[in-house]
Subunit: 367 residues, 2 copies
């Protein structure tokens, strides 16, 4: 079996190796400080008793699971602490594909490439459904793509790479159609703290027994390297998901779990609000530059990416490398995200140099 | 698809919930201090720049991979830092089962139950081959069990639960037979620091292109909760293993990686020697008690477990619970480890109370 390797590390490496000063708008690494309690939590943990250096429960530290459960208003038994949101998505998709409900995987195009990679790794047969022009869910087309061979539909809201925040009614329609076909819906909400529209509502609100919610603190706490995510799994599906988690990873790294627990408890809501303000200001800078460059784009309602299309400069890997070499700005090729936005380039707004990047884009494309 | 849930957490929970004072000889958690550099490394990391809190390379911090590669005398490109040795075993078995070489999995009985769980999770068809009476590899029977449908053979040396240290010639015979059938051999060497015989030799010595070595520092550095393991993969197989690692976990938790890197650099060999001395003394205590109780056992050459059989007291889950309730000693039922040692009970020697446990066993079985 072959499965696709996501190209993020490839582009980052190219940018690292390039001559000159490159502004990295490739990776989804927040560039701001984590909550102070992350650092304090690690210091405290470093001095704890040796027995706290041993296996925590497989599904996560009880304290952390209860904290997450309280925040999401669910039973702690439904929460699995995972090695990042990525493992949570893997567990959800695997649980669906392990069932007797076929091997169909419905994904929304543009698509986060880890979803397609996981689908092929798990033996799934992927069907891509194009998003609306603005990145929103095309409810009718999505529901039409679901049939009795569909095991799982993966949704991501707020969306990477489009920045769309899905309407909960649209998500509900997909969930109901999925239920009619015994399919599971995995809803990846890792950007839930980055909603600029005020319209984001978690799919947990649907209280549906075929919905697995995944999220994590990689983005919200600016600690992508810690690998703390979680899945909230319906009661009937949770035992199998926990078993797979145990068989693959045994459990999630404890220093990171403990630090995140402390940060959940100690971090003021202003921390998250400041990150949103910072990103909204960056969105203004970049979209103004895109206007000046005559580029096409949709202003993101959430997450922290902007997709843009430039005239006569399709977002191929070759052109992305040209942009790195000639403009000093590194983005991701649209073709990385399926076929619906092949002509586009994704810019991540998680660099303090967004304004400088915006100027470089104007200079380059205004020529 | 159903797959088996390892029973360790179940027995630990039973022991936790039991009345009275229970000596835990269930889990494989070292009870001694980690190297001082683990704590220092965490403190240093906690104060590092925010960008060090973001994604490390998917296959692990370069510094850590180079450190492991130097110690194992292999090219760093062959090293993948994993979420514990367990993920490394998963990657190795998955790589083998993803090939076109059938779905047969050959395991040695008694068997570490995570191997059987992973095999069924990955769609493998498991064949158990009984170990020799002393726990050593039955080379002839193992080689006979390998055929063209065999994708992977998993060996574990020093062995959990038998304590056997495999002869390298025996491993080599299995590796050569496997090569004749295009099968991969995963050799789990996580107990490589706990060799009391002086005879342990890593399967890396064989320099075979169908051998994946897995190991980690959970046991050697007494940090089972950190989840730092690694795989050393032959060049032809490494790209696919790295892709699966990326698709499941993205990468391994960075605070733990950094602390382990520091500990590799700063820890004196005496640290590991002291742990071996401590365990050898515990082996003496327990085997003396087993002699006094008239039990059957093989003195372990490596790892930190003793398997014992008591007259008229087979190691069923029910009897293990009886032993918890009536003797205050918690072990693992032999049936957890396949069928070859169903009548036996495994005692882990990673408690400072081994002598007290030995006395309790004498009191209980001398009645």
């Amino acid at each position: 079996m072959d499965y696709q390797t996501p190209q993020f590390f490839h582009v980052m490496q190219y940018a690292d190796d390039a001559d000159g000063d490159i502004i990295d708008m490739v990776s989804g690494n927040p560039d701001w400080e984590p909550p102070a309690a992350i650092r304090e939590g690690l210091h405290e943990y470093a001095d704890s008793d040796a027995d706290e250096f041993q296996y925590p429960p497989s599904d996560g530290l009880q304290s952390l699971r209860e904290e997450i459960a309280a925040r999401r208003n669910v039973d702690p038994d439904r929460v699995i602490v995972t090695n990042g949101t990525s493992e949570a998505n893997y567990l959800g998709m695997a649980r669906a594909l392990d069932g007797d409900c076929g091997d169909g995987v419905v994904l929304i195009d543009p698509v986060y490439p880890y979803y397609t990679g996981k689908a092929s790794m798990l033996g799934g047969d992927t069907r891509l459904v194009e998003a609306n022009r603005d990145g929103g869910l095309d409810t009718e087309a999505t529901c039409e793509a679901i049939d009795d061979d569909t095991a799982v539909i993966v949704l991501n809201t707020p969306n990477n790479p489009t920045g769309a925040v899905y309407d909960l009614n649209a998500v509900e329609a997909v969930v109901e159609t999925a239920a009619d076909h015994n399919a599971i819906v995995v809803v990846d909400e890792v950007y839930d703290h980055f909603d600029f529209s005020g319209d984001f509502e978690s799919a947990l609100m649907l209280d549906a027994d075929n919905v697995i919610i995944t999220s994590g603190v990689s983005k919200s706490m600016a600690i992508t390297g810690f690998r703390i995510g979680y899945a909230v799994v319906p009661p009937a599906l949770v035992a199998a998901a926990k078993t797979r988690h145990m068989l693959v990873n045994v459990t999630t790294s404890r220093p990171a779990q403990q630090a995140v627990y402390e940060a959940y408890r100690e971090t003021d809501p202003d921390y998250y609000a400041d990150a949103r303000d910072r990103l909204e200001s960056r969105i203004e800078s970049v979209t103004a530059a895109l206007d000046a460059a005559g580029a096409d784009y949709t202003k993101p309602d959430g997450a922290f990416y902007v997709l843009a299309r430039f005239d006569d400069f399709p977002g191929t890997m070759a052109n992305v490398k040209t942009l790195i070499d000639e403009a000093g700005v590194a983005g991701m090729p649209g073709a990385t995200f399926g076929s619906a936005r092949e002509e586009w380039i994704r810019f991540a707004l998680v660099t303090p140099r967004v304004e400088a990047a915006a100027e470089r884009l104007i200079d380059y494309f205004a020529d």
